[in-house]
């Protein structure tokens, strides 16, 4: 038996298949991508958040208009650290602010007017992305027709995303919807002005804390032309031309393999998976791309330059971190993206978890896991707390919602969702990552927790 039922889950045995202790002789993957047990204190978000927050949101020069009551727009206003070199997408929040009247009589008119007004006030917005929230799906506004009408009127693309929060089991379906919508409605609507034999799209890179600004130049230095980054710091005009790449590489393989596959199927453009975190994996990614474009020598040159510059930093932190044990809990792929980089720092990952991972994510985790490694699908606050107390990792890489729980238990923490002081990708980013782990683990602030105040 390799599935486990933690003590906190005794009243909800449905959780047992989701928690696995790795046994290579008798490998079982956690049950995944199914409905959450109601009331289990899940950390999952909704389909809207996956679509608006993760995939659509980083496009920097479009008006992101949330069609629904106010909350969903407010909560996605500048929250995710998907940086850009312009301000429109993080500075402004657009909402149709639906109220009771609209729930009764429909929100069509309000949506139409909102698109027109937003366009008039912000002509710098190159398109309007319209995201539907729960209530829109329930009252049945025909957002397709309204957006089409508004597109004709404004002359700019108006793209409806049917990402009502209640659809699907997690934010994962929202990623898929965003991919499919952009593929169907945007990709292929324009031809690039020029093409070269070295055109490539970086897919599933959202420029969290500047990751894309580290990754893009690595490929450019190799002689590759980055046609589009899907979607970190991406201007709208980069999306319609994605079908003219010669190769796509996929970094976030949970949220964005969909579009790479769709482009492959329709336009016969191959894609390769990359893990541009850590020195070895980043080098592998560069080599794979170099091989495809016959730019092997260039790839080696860039790798050598980067290693000369950044490996000493990694060696420095390795000395300070060797032998540490960690938990990694991320939305999906970063849980396995980071297992090997941790080994480069001499750190063992003893527990991984994902919020919305699918089977392929868990396969990739298990490929890298040692016997006894614990893997949890869609963990809840109680399970996280129980394992933190039981296994006492030296640090935990998670998201903001777990951060302060972990602190109260006296365990160092790194925010892997939006980072502490990123970027964390690529060679340079990995030094930042290692530094933040060092800060977390070796800060003097922890020592007071076990030094209680007593009368002398």
């Amino acid at each position: 038996m390799t599935t486990i039922l933690p003590e906190c889950d005794i009243p909800i045995p449905q959780r047992k298949p989701h928690i696995v202790c790795h046994d290579p002789e008798n490998m079982v993957l956690p049950m995944c991508n199914v409905q959450t047990v109601p009331g289990d204190m899940t950390e999952r978000g909704c389909t809207f958040s996956g679509c608006r927050g993760v995939v659509g949101g980083p496009v920097k020069d479009v008006i992101h208009l949330v069609h629904g009551p106010i909350g969903c727009a407010y909560y996605t206003w500048g929250t995710r650290r998907n940086l850009s070199d312009t301000k429109l997408h993080r500075k402004y929040c657009f909402s149709t602010d639906l109220t009771e009247d609209s729930v009764v009589f429909g929100g069509a008119k309000k949506l139409y007017n909102s698109i027109l007004e937003s366009h008039e006030l912000f002509p710098e917005g190159k398109a309007v992305f319209v995201y539907s929230t729960c209530v829109v799906g329930l009252i049945g506004d025909d957002t397709e027709a309204i957006c089409k009408q508004a597109q004709e009127k404004t002359g700019i693309p108006v793209v409806p995303f049917h990402c009502e929060g209640f659809r699907g089991v997690s934010q994962s379906l929202g990623h898929h919807i965003a991919n499919r919508t952009i593929f169907e409605k945007v990709v292929g609507t324009k031809e690039p002005e020029v093409t070269t034999p070295y055109d490539m799209c970086i897919i599933g890179e959202f420029n969290i804390d500047g990751d894309a600004w580290i990754i893009r130049p690595l490929f450019e230095r190799m002689g590759v032309r980055v046609l589009t980054i899907f979607t970190g710091n991406s201007p709208y005009c980069d999306l319609p031309v994605m079908h003219r790449a010669k190769l796509n590489i996929v970094q976030c393989q949970r949220s964005s393999t969909y579009i790479a596959k769709m482009i492959q199927d329709k336009y016969s453009i191959p894609y390769i998976n990359v893990s541009l975190f850590g020195m070895k994996q980043t080098a592998e990614g560069l080599r794979d791309v170099g091989k495809f474009f016959h730019l092997e020598e260039n790839a080696e040159k860039v790798i050598a330059e980067e290693l000369a510059k950044y490996q000493p930093g990694i060696d420095h932190y390795r000395k300070r971190l060797e032998g540490k044990k960690c938990f990694i809990y991320q939305g999906g792929p970063r849980a396995w993206h980071w297992m090997r980089p941790m080994q480069e720092l001499g750190i063992e990952t003893i527990l991984t978890a994902t919020t919305f991972g699918h089977k392929d994510d868990y396969e990739k985790i298990m490929e890298k896991a040692k016997p006894g490694h614990i893997c949890i699908d869609n963990p809840n606050a109680l399970e996280i707390e129980e394992y933190l107390v039981k296994l006492k990792p030296d640090f935990f890489i998670g998201g903001l919602k777990e951060k302060y729980l972990t602190y109260k238990l006296g365990i160092p923490f790194i925010n892997g969702h939006s980072y502490e002081e990123g970027p964390y990708a690529g060679f340079e980013g990995f030094v930042n990552f290692a530094r933040d782990i060092d800060v977390a683990v070796n800060s003097p602030v922890w020592k007071f927790i076990n030094q209680p105040l007593k009368v002398k």
């Binding site: 409905q35 978000g45 727009a73 008119k109 209640f166 659809r167 699907g168 919602k401 951060k403």
Partner: protein, 438 residues
């Protein structure tokens, strides 16, 4: 506002406020009956402001619930929370979805309760009605409606705080202690959302602190209720109508006169005299105002946020000799405009009132008036940068600075802190350092 589209709204939806009200109740687990985003987003907001873990359960409604209703999910959620956490209570917030599909949450909750060892508060908080303040008010009223029992007079005063900081609540408690008046806070996040790291990293399952259910029940027997945020006043009105508990809905205690009114209200309801220490605190506030009036006189200040806090701060700014030029709130509240008009007539100011609008409009109006200081939450950062004026942060949420929730801006002491913050912001922003040697 003539637009349909709302741009940069400094307001959130009902579940956010309801969750905050429930988090001030000891042993109460908030449960959002809706899509998972409706619990995750408020949690994220609470975590990033208070830098605390904020555990909120969700009934995780999916597509099947859209067709068949959410009763099954809600029943299972209640059962699971009870069996795993055994909390004193579960505070339900409804959402757009559960309200639109028409779940009868009260009935479902009643059926799900197998014994009376746990209470359930089934508040109706659809996001398409009102704002976070409406949600707070609805949840708070549900607490007293569910629990209150008439018993013996308890000689206490109920304080309805509204959405204010742990630091404010501690300051109000401090004033009541000085006045020797016992109180029941409805509700009280001062401990639950400002928790210590305990020796050895010991963490209670649910946070310590919060108002106990028995205290909430006892609020029916108090000398009176004072709501310091009128947007949260419906529980006070309920207690008055049902149990004849006198209710006072008055301005937030910020600045001299509004804090005076708070003290006077306490005295009136409890019969307590004004102690010497309170008079000394008041004197220190006046002293602090006198100390800085040369710096602050005529300074154009613009303020946005929740209506009770904004109107009280407008008055305080006028008291300190500043010139409030724009007062903005996204939530409509009937006292907001009269409050500010009263200040305008008393201090011959001409503060423009913006109600039920957004920060895009606020910014446009600020540009026409000019400003030397902006007061508001973190969402004012871009306006402050564009206008090149300092932003003094108050209200919920402030996520781009640390610790704002720890410090009071209420009471005489809190007002001193707020004024010092404002003055230092002015002094720190392009003020000639040669003029600061005194």
């Amino acid at each position: 506002m003539a637009r349909s589209v709302v741009i940069n709204p400094p307001k959130m939806c009902q579940p956010m406020g309801a969750i905050l009200a429930y988090m001030g109740v000891h042993g109460c687990v908030p449960l959002v009956h809706g899509s998972q985003g409706c619990s995750t987003y408020p949690r994220y907001n609470i975590a990033r402001y208070f830098r605390e873990s904020a555990e909120v359960a969700a009934s995780s409604l999916g597509e099947d619930a859209a067709v068949y209703g959410g009763a099954k999910n809600l029943t299972e959620a209640i059962k699971n929370i009870k069996s795993r956490l055994n909390p004193a209570a579960i505070g339900i917030c409804t959402t757009c979805m559960s309200e639109t599909i028409g779940d009868d949450v009260k009935l479902i909750a009643k059926k799900a309760l197998t014994d009376d060892t746990m209470k359930i508060f089934p508040a109706s908080t659809p996001s398409y009605v009102g704002t976070h303040l409406t949600g707070y008010d609805n949840a708070l009223r549900m607490l007293v409606e569910t629990l209150d029992v008439k018993g013996k007079p308890n000689n206490k005063i109920n304080i309805i705080t509204g959405i204010i900081n742990p630091g404010d609540i501690r300051e109000i408690k401090n004033m009541l202690r000085l006045m020797n008046v016992q109180s029941i806070f409805l509700s009280d996040i001062s401990e639950t959302l400002d928790t210590p790291i305990l020796p050895g990293g010991h963490k209670p399952v649910l946070p310590d602190g919060g108002t106990s259910l028995s205290d909430i029940a006892d609020s029916a027997n108090s000398l009176g209720t004072i709501a310091i945020c009128r947007t949260a006043g419906s529980a006070a009105t309920y207690l008055k109508n049902k149990f004849n508990v006198p209710s006072v809905l008055d301005a937030a205690p910020i600045g001299v006169i509004n804090t005076d009114r708070f003290v006077q209200n306490i005295c009136k309801l409890s019969g307590a005299p004004i102690p010497e220490e309170i008079i000394r605190e008041r004197g220190r506030l006046i002293d602090s105002m006198v100390d800085v009036h040369h710096y602050m006189f005529g300074r154009k200040v613009v303020i946005f946020g929740d209506p009770d806090l904004v109107s009280a701060i407008v008055r305080f700014c006028a008291e300190a000799g500043m010139t409030p030029t724009v007062a903005m709130t996204a939530t409509k509240q009937k006292d907001f405009a009269p409050d500010i008009k009263a200040v305008n007539s008393e201090y011959r100011t001409d503060t423009q009132i913006l109600e039920g609008t957004d920060l895009y409009e606020f910014h446009e109006v600020v540009k026409t008036h000019g400003a030397e200081l902006i007061l508001g939450n973190s969402k004012g950062k871009d306006i402050a940068d564009d206008e090149d004026v300092p932003l003094v942060r108050f209200g919920f949420p402030v996520y781009d600075r640390v610790g704002v929730y720890r410090y009071p801006i209420m009471g005489y002491n809190g007002s001193i802190y707020l004024l010092d913050q404002m003055t230092n912001a002015i002094l720190g922003h392009k003020y000639d350092p040669n003029k600061l040697h005194q």
